[in-house]
Amino acid sequence: MHILVVEDDRDTREFVRSGLMQAGHTVDVADNGRDGLLVASTGSFDLIVLDRMLPEVDGLTVVRTLRASDNRVPVLILSALGEVDQRVAGLRAGGDDYLVKPFAFSELEARLEALARRTAPEGPATLLRVGDLEMDLMTRSVHRGGTAIDLQPREFALLEYLMRHAGQVVTRTMLLEHVWDYHFDPQTNVIDVHVSRLRAKIDKGFDEPLLHTVRGAGYKIAAGSEQA
């Protein structure tokens, strides 16, 4: 993917750049808002990682300007202004996701992948498929290899989110935000219990496991052929 990183802090910028390049992406950088806006509107990028507090032109203005000129490239806003309350302002300005500094690289990577996938034209999908696991969104039923799997509503939502991001790492925070719809920090890894129950239902008795734990990052649902 072609990614633009607009960040004035040299350490963060270099770290993000090297990490993304290591992951096989092409990365352009800018160190202030005006340059960032110029590069963003002239080049063609799959994703933009944008710091919120930038010299010259601030991040939220950059996003607003891009959106005003009908540029729909997904933007992930980075900010030292943490917390849920700040997140809302960033998303309202036209950002697609918001990540608080300091962040774990795996969290950034997972969110960028999710953003890139979101723009891929999907059409009104009614059937999600990973390997021999199938989810019918119309009848709200799940089958694996022809066997019906009975899921609780929350388990269904969890599996749906994972399958919509099949092949990508999904972090625990992302699951809490999207499946449970709460921004909060659990004291215990409560998500793990839900995932292992789901795993018991979809993987138990089958040769190939589909639901994988990615250590230090989160979870990924993928069939053998799709695994990186």
Partner: protein, 462 residues
């Protein structure tokens, strides 16, 4: 009746009452002294002068007798009586056996003289009127008696007038003193009450409140000024402490994240035997970062800089969601996690913060309670249901080891963990965060003995 007595007791205990009483006493004493002085310098003077006149008259008459004999005295007395048409002066001159020789009194009045030889009696005048009189009897040579007296009717009247004035004045004094005392002490105590109100607000956590200074430069302004300076320093000090700890958390977070990310990236290319170790290091760094995040979040909520998204929320719904999230964990630990919610437990608040608070309480309960027991979450409306908004109370009750009651206030302090829980994982910030959330919503966090176990109540105004 008992309530009346209690109210009366409360009034009797007030400083207003005591001050008013002292004021009345002080006022009363000064007025009494003043009255006494007035009496002494008016009526007292007249009495003294009357007595002096009578004494000198007696002395004069006695000299007449000594120098010129009995006949002359009789003549003089007759002359005096003739020259006093008002009949105010009274005379009686008698022989040894009380036979009158001269005078306008028929006989000695039946009265016993006081220590100084004065007698007071009622004198029936020639016109039939009865008047009070004061007289002195003098024993002349040869056993003759001489009485010289005076009609003191006017003096009596003056005394009565004075007494009446004293009575009215006394009553007036009391009323004025009471009113003045109430007014003065009221003014003083109003300011003290204002101080008390403000200080109790400060004690309740509103450190930005200050005592009123009226600008008159009186003792209260002086006191308020000093207290305000003290509060300014206290606030500045607290602010510094908070800043220092927040800055430490903030400044450490960035390099720690960088370290964590380097390890994470290194782990990807590391050989298998090293990768496990590196991934464990990442997990440890994550735990540390979570602590810093929690610390900063508490600081932001407490300082009011957290821009909470306040909206109508249904606490029963939030409890249901939290239960849904923690149900799996509870079953894994063999604990029954159940909820009992009343409908209509709506409040206004930040749903994410409230979820965090309730999740922390459930997390704690699950952590300490033993397998086979129940953790019960109840949501109840409290207070008069229809009229006043009242409160909603979320209670999480477990049957774990509980907390000794003397530790109730300590457990909400940051990093305060009881000795017995040191072996369990956790940052020691969970309850601090709950308390911060409660206070952000003007609510309270209370602990009670669930016998056995702990019962934590989060009370939030609806």
């Amino acid at each position: 009746m008992r309530r009346l007595r209690q109210r009366l007791g409360a009034i009797l205990r007030t400083t207003t009452f005591h001050l008013t009483l002292s004021y009345i006493a002080l006022f009363g004493i000064s007025v009494s002294l003043l009255t006494l002085f007035f009496y002494w310098s008016t009526i007292g003077l007249i009495v003294r002068e009357t007595d002096a006149t009578l004494k000198s008259e007696i002395t004069g008459l006695a000299e007449q007798y000594l120098e010129h004999g009995l006949d002359r005295l009789v003549q003089v007395i007759a002359h005096r009586i003739r020259n006093d048409p008002s009949g105010d002066m009274l005379y009686l001159f008698t022989t040894r056996d009380n036979q009158p020789l001269a005078g306008n009194l028929a006989a000695y009045p039946p009265a016993t003289p006081d220590e100084e030889g004065w007698i007071e009696f009622v004198h029936r005048r020639a016109d039939g009127r009865e008047v009070p009189a004061r007289a002195r009897v003098y024993l002349l040579r040869d056993g003759l008696h001489l009485l010289v007296g005076r009609n003191i009717g006017q003096l009596r009247q003056l005394k009565q007038t004075f007494n009446r004035a004293l009575l009215i004045g006394g009553g007036l004094t009391f009323v004025l003193a009471a009113a003045g005392g109430l007014l003065m002490s009221g003014r003083v105590l109003n300011r003290i009450s204002a101080f008390t109100r403000t200080t109790s607000e400060i004690v309740a956590g509103r450190l930005d409140r200050r005592l009123d200074e009226h600008g008159g430069g009186d003792e209260f302004d002086l006191l308020a000024g000093h207290l305000n300076v003290m509060l300014d320093r206290l606030e500045a000090l607290l602010e510094t402490v908070r800043h220092v700890s927040d800055n430490i958390a903030h400044d450490l977070r960035t390099p720690l994240t960088r370290l964590r990310n380097r390890i994470e990236l290194a782990a990807r290319d590391a050989p298998d035997e090293l990768r496990g170790e590196l991934e464990a290091s990442v997990a440890e760094a994550d735990a540390l970062l979570a602590t810093f995040t929690a610390l900063l979040r508490i600081a932001r909520i407490e300082s009011g800089s957290y821009d909470a998204h306040i909206e109508p929320v249904d606490l029963a719904r939030i409890v249901d969601d939290a239960l849904d999230l923690y149900q799996g964990l509870a079953q894994e630990r063999g604990v029954v996690l159940a909820a009992d919610s009343e409908p209509g437990c709506n409040i206004t608040g930040d749903r994410n913060l409230l979820f965090q608070a309730i999740a922390n309480l459930i997390d704690n309960a699950l952590k300490y309670t033993a397998a086979g027991t129940t953790v019960m979450v109840t949501v109840r409306r409290e207070g008069n249901a229809d009229a006043a908004p009242g409160t909603v109370c979320v209670t999480v009750a477990d049957s774990g080891p509980g907390i000794p009651s003397e530790e109730y206030t300590r457990v909400t302090q940051r990093f305060a963990r009881l000795d017995q829980s040191r072996s369990l994982p956790g940052s020691g910030l969970g309850l601090s965060l709950v308390k911060a959330v409660a206070e952000r919503h003007r609510g309270t966090l209370e602990f009670a003995d669930n016998a056995p176990g702990l019962r934590v109540s989060l009370r939030l105004p609806a």
